[in-house]
Amino acid sequence: MLKNLKQHTKKLTITALAGLTALSLVGCNENEKTGDSVTSEEKVKVSLYSTGSLNVQNFWEEVIPLFEQENENIDVELVFLPAGQGGQSTMDRLLAAKKANKDSGVDIYEGGLEDAIRGEEENLFEKLDESNIENIKNIEENNMKGTQNLAIPYRASAVVLAYNSDNVKEVPDTPEDLYKWIENHPGKFAYNDPTTGGSGSSFVISTIYNQLPAEAMNIQDESIMKDWDKGFEILNDLEPYLYQEGVYPKKNQGTLDLLANGEVDMVPAWSDMALEQMNNKLLPENTKLKQINPGFTGGPAYLMVPADNDEQEKEAAQEFVNYALTPEVQKVVIEKMYGFPGIKWGLLDEELQLEFESVSGKYRLFNGGTLGEELNKRWQKEIAN
């Protein structure tokens, strides 16, 4: 009797465990690719992990089929994590896999420069140079600086001013002009909560670092934090003149919505987002964009190739990164994504160069690493209140 019971329980447990395993397999099947390449000899499957706004997803969905057409033996799978839903988790996953000495399942990773730097100590990413990725030669040399060849800046976007051209006649040229304009037009300017989106964050960073020497943007030492005071003072002084005397909408879209429905006349916005929405008539036709001087910060998006791939996957991944740097794809970056090309403007059509003149001014790069988080914390404490 007892023995019978024991057997029953055992069977039950096994069944339950089997069920659970099946469930977990469904949950993370992209994990299960070790040795996959052997069974499907004709096709190499690589996974591209990316994050961001909808336009990034649309971009990949456009580019991947083009790539697969040219490389019939490579199958690219897009794993897209919408912004704020765990871009961080991909890095955690890579680190965890590294610790356990396993394949993370991530073959190509799109992320920020801080990820490449974070992965440097652990040798998370492969070194990429002209020997394995030929098209690196197309990239503006300046942009490769600081990447230590671990990450490829294949495109970029910048924050610009988006404004209602019916109501704004004197468009500011410099940050000082802008602050003056804000004070003269109370309630008509808004930047979004910098903890929720890059355009607001760029406005805050630019305002603070405009008060410091140009190279300060590259300092990652916490000692610089005390020099932020002056910039925060400016932000504090601006507050009463902002939308609803200091309301900071959530997300990049939050401020664009205010511009679209006419509650404000001017906002900082990502050039690519704004251009795309102007093109889709989500923003009114009187919307115009302008970069001020010195410009807001912007930044490239980087492609990285994790070092845990096997030979076939590695080659396929490199092939894909190389393809992302062709003028063909870069045209998609400009036309579909309204982004900045990762390769030299000179390599692109002249027509294109003209069309995007207004926003193609120089953007600046903030390279303060985790200081960005500290900046957000201080903003939340001092400005949000």
Binding site: M1, N4, L5, H8, T9, L12, A16, L20, G84, Q88, D193, T195, T196, Q244, G246, V247, Y248, P249, K250, N261, G262, E263, E373, N376, K377, Q380, K381, I383, A384, N385
Partner: protein, 275 residues
């Protein structure tokens, strides 16, 4: 043997929910509690709680969360109770129409409701266009808007709960009370209210737990500071990457709900003997 089999079947039937409870609830809760006591080097520390309970910003957030939750709960209960009482005791055609419509908000996805709300109540929204934007008080990016949104989310379910409680009060209880000479107010305070008190407490518990940990509505509607704890927790987690701090906020939210739950259960047990 048959008894044994039935026992095993019983275990087999509970097992899936039990396991999923362990995997989806107990384990993550355990992890969060553990993380809330760890610093970045995974060493034990009280710092996260010290920060959450003493940092002026966090204290403000905590107070603000309580304020919003209490105001919302009180309004939800008053409005829902009035609505449920009207639906229970009125036979007019209007009450019949309302009784078929009042739960519709429950079927509208939250995010759509929030954007609809914003379009309706923002400073140049539909209402402002109607009454003139100079007469329009600020709802969006304001506590007023958040409270209104909480009403939208909570009134239908609360009303449903209370209506079922009021419907369960037999007509003869009220009639016999009138018979012995009780007037309307007496009937309400001495009969209807005590007889629906337990459900009122259930409704309060649900409303409290729903509102205190809410994220989407305060994130999209409320101003930037002070924040509801749910928003602050998300910020600490995914913006500042402060795992320990966000975990300790989560634990504190959990404790707040636990206190309310405890009061509820205690009251239930007290009343068990009478009814």
């Amino acid at each position: 043997m048959i008894a044994k089999k039935q026992k095993l079947l019983g275990i087999a039937m509970v097992l899936p929910s039990f396991l999923s409870l362990i995997i989806l609830v107990v384990w993550p809760v355990f992890i969060s509690i553990k993380q809330s006591f760890q610093n970045e080097e995974n060493q034990f520390t009280w710092d996260n709680y010290k920060y959450v309970l003493t940092d002026p910003m966090m204290v403000n957030n905590f107070k603000y969360t309580m304020l919003v939750t209490l105001i919302s709960c009180v309004l939800v209960l008053i409005i829902s109770y009035a609505l449920a009482a009207y639906l229970r005791f009125s036979n007019s055609w209007f009450s019949k129409v309302i009784s078929r419509l009042y739960f519709i908000p429950m079927f509208i996805p939250g995010i759509i409701a929030i954007y609809g709300f914003i379009n309706m109540y923002r400073d140049n929204g539909w209402i402002a266009r109607f009454i003139g934007s100079e007469n329009m008080p600020s709802f969006v990016y304001d506590i007023k808007g958040l409270v209104l949104m909480n009403l939208w989310f909570n009134i239908p379910f609360t009303t449903m709960l209370l209506l079922s409680a009021l419907s369960a009060i037999p007509g003869s209880v009220i009639e016999s009370a009138r018979d012995v000479g009780a007037k309307k107010l007496t009937i309400f305070f001495k009969f209807i209210l005590p007889l629906s008190y337990n459900t009122l407490l259930v409704a309060l518990t649900f409303a409290f737990m729903g509102i205190v940990g809410s994220f989407t509505a305060p994130y999209l509607i409320d101003k930037n500071a002070p924040q509801m704890l749910g928003v602050s927790m998300q910020q600490h987690f995914s913006v500042y990457h402060e795992l320990g701090q966000s975990s300790s906020i989560a634990v504190i939210l959990f404790l707040m709900c636990a206190v309310v739950g405890f009061i509820y259960i205690k009251n239930m047990m007290k009343n068990e003997s009478h009814s």
